[in-house]
Symmetry: C2
Subunit: 156 residues, 2 copies
């Protein structure tokens, strides 16, 4: 079974977000083994945000294996449609790449080291979302992608 | 107090979405009187989607007052950043426009009549979201917009 890792920063605070994540993890269990890996949120000093970003980036990089395929959710990444998202997931699966790993930055974004290490960068929207809500949006897109890949009906 | 209407199709099925909406309605109550107006979902015949769309469009149009300012959440609308979203909300408020009304289509989207009647069309993302999740995303953007308008800190 395909393995998908989602690296993110900090734990979810709101119960409704936890419930949403659990719902999509359950739905996705038919298609993939999805693991959400939460790393420690840095105590960010507003006068030195880079330091905090680097610390969170390091916490993620420590967990990533050599050669692990990494896709960042990044405001500066390329914007794609759900069909394109699905197509690129399918191509990775067809190449036998596993795990396929997504990274969602924290409150202040992503470190340069993470950007350098990444294999791909996608932007989910021009809008800024909370990084906690981004988790739900990304999981829903992965679920949607599998529905498209498998030619299954999915009403939105 | 500014009045904001959100017209949408059908009622929310998932408890976590209801909880998310209630949370943002509560947070927004400091800035605006937000009303969510749910119209009946049409029984859509897949061989004649336009008929269903028109029915849902009609259900929304019946509820809208003459001259009511209407912004559609529309895949074909213009994509904007959270800052632009906030700026355009502020401009409407400064002009004394009230209510400011947003429309989220149903499973199959929006009718042409609704598009013709609208004053503005915005796209929240190139990605397709469920229309139920779009409600949460839109409310969060409105909340974010008021935080920006009021120069208040809001960590994402």
């Amino acid at each position: 079974m395909i393995k998908i890792n989602i690296y993110c920063v900090g734990s979810l605070k709101e119960q409704y977000l936890k419930d949403a994540i659990n719902e999509y993890k359950k739905r996705l269990s038919r298609y993939a083994k999805v693991e959400i890996i939460e790393v420690k949120e840095a105590k960010v000093d507003e006068t030195n945000i880079t330091k905090g970003l680097n610390e969170e980036g390091e916490n993620i990089l420590k967990r990533i294996k050599d050669g692990e395929y990494l896709i960042l959710s990044d405001l500066h990444g390329k914007e794609i449609t759900s069909e394109e998202f699905s197509k690129s997931l399918r191509e990775l699966i067809d190449k036998g790449i596993s795990p396929i790993s997504y990274v969602i930055g924290g409150t202040y974004g992503l470190s340069n080291e993470l950007r350098k290490r990444s294999n791909d960068k996608i932007s989910l929207s021009k809008l800024t979302f909370t990084h906690q809500m981004t988790r739900v949006i990304l999981l829903e897109q992965i679920y949607r992608a599998f529905k498209i890949i498998n030619n299954e009906n999915y009403h939105h």
